[in-house]
Symmetry: C2
Subunit: 254 residues, 2 copies
């Protein structure tokens, strides 16, 4: 005996199909938005304006707009742009967590993305209409120290953040991802410093330069940056360049 009715055709099946009769888990999207400034990897937090966890900090996220979002990635991008006012040069799906206990409202599934933003030109929407009319009451960057932030986040967001940092750090060992964290123009030393901040250790500059040269993702602007000492060549990211995957990891780190 089949628990479902029998239909003679797909057309007939749809005539009788009522989506509301199936109870479904709640589904959301959360994005770990990274940037680098003040010599630290930073993550964007928002303060919840509603229950549950009202007034607690969380990652940037929200529910799918079933009318207007065509894909999960649309949801992630929409929320990211609402909070930062910019489009991200890099967005990657990280993982999905779904279980009975992560949300006090019941079975909940969240798909986690991570985004990399250049630190320049980010104007947080702290006091704009966007914020005051939304479910969020504040936005801020929080620096990551020892793979953690000092805030205790709502839901399982500290865990999500930890896993996302782990993914980022691991991927930095064999990709050119940090290039997406750089401003328009930067020196090779700047880029190396960003790698070093994420990996939390110093790198050999010769070895580092060899890798970046091999990746062939940068072009010199022709300009130099003049500090107090020897000027350094400025580079920009080439256009329409894919992330480079190295065949060998940076070694020494886990």
């Amino acid at each position: 005996m089949n628990k479902n009715q029998n239909y003679n055709s797909e057309t007939e099946f749809f005539k009788n199909y009522d989506p509301s009769k199936f109870y479904r888990p709640s589904t959301s999207v959360d994005t770990v938005i990274f940037t680098v400034f003040d010599l630290a990897l930073q993550v964007l937090l928002v303060k919840r304006g509603e229950y549950p966890f009202k007034n607690q900090w969380t990652l940037v996220g929200g529910f799918i707009d079933l009318e207007n979002d065509q894909t999960l990635e649309d949801t992630a991008k929409r929320k990211l742009e609402e909070k930062t006012g910019v489009k991200t040069p890099y967005l990657e799906q990280c993982f999905t967590i779904g279980n009975k206990i992560r949300d006090p409202r019941g079975w909940s599934v969240t798909t986690v993305y991570f985004a990399l933003l250049p630190s320049e030109n980010i104007q947080l929407k702290t006091n704009s209409d966007d914020i005051t009319s939304s479910s969020v009451s504040a936005v801020k960057w929080s620096p990551i120290k020892n793979n953690k932030i000092k805030e205790s986040l709502a839901f399982d967001h500290n865990y999500i953040l930890e896993k996302a940092i782990e993914r980022l750090r691991n991927k930095v060992l064999y990709t050119s991802l940090p290039a997406y964290l750089m401003p328009e123009k930067f020196t090779l030393r700047d880029l190396q410093t960003v790698y070093e901040i994420i990996l939390d250790r110093t790198l050999e500059s010769k070895s580092f330069r060899r890798r970046i040269e091999r990746a062939n993702i940068l072009e010199p602007t022709g300009e130099t940056r003049q500090d107090v000492k020897r000027p350094a060549q400025l580079y920009r990211l080439k256009e329409n360049i894919d992330t480079y995957f190295f065949l060998r990891n940076i070694e020494g780190a886990t």
Copy 2:
């Protein structure tokens, strides 16, 4: 003006919380179950017994049992065990696809896992009670040739399969994953052959053996397998061993 009511406490919020008033996307889990036999990577397919796509082949999947499944992974394992009758030694979350168009019933999100099963001892539940009482009318293995199978699957399952194969092939370049596809006892040549089948190219045996030795995941059983020619040492996977990650990829492949 906030679109939500104002509550004075979290307790009060929950007293008024009704999950059914939010429309939610459909959420499912699909698992790409791989094994290797007949010199080919094989994927498990089931034939749908219900609309939509009645009588078409699909990957193994289904909806979350909100009562009994504690996590998404529980759902994946439950479905896998229903169809194969065994527990998988390796299950990894692959990615999540969510969009408006993948399911004719509307907005749908599916989290895709992939599993690796040893080819020995799999007794498909083709004619058991499990099958006849479920929404599935048949189960079979389909060999992968040129990253594709000959069947045209329901929903976006051909696309999902293609991406899962890509992930598996890529990961095989720097991990010991194929070890999970091996029977209880096997020779190094057997393992190399499985690598070769997945990567679809031959490998250098010296180089391959060096890698496996370095990974330190196998122990000799002491026995040898006697074919017609020189006997080969039999190995088994050490217990409680994690997947080994090599610092360098197998080269030459993409």
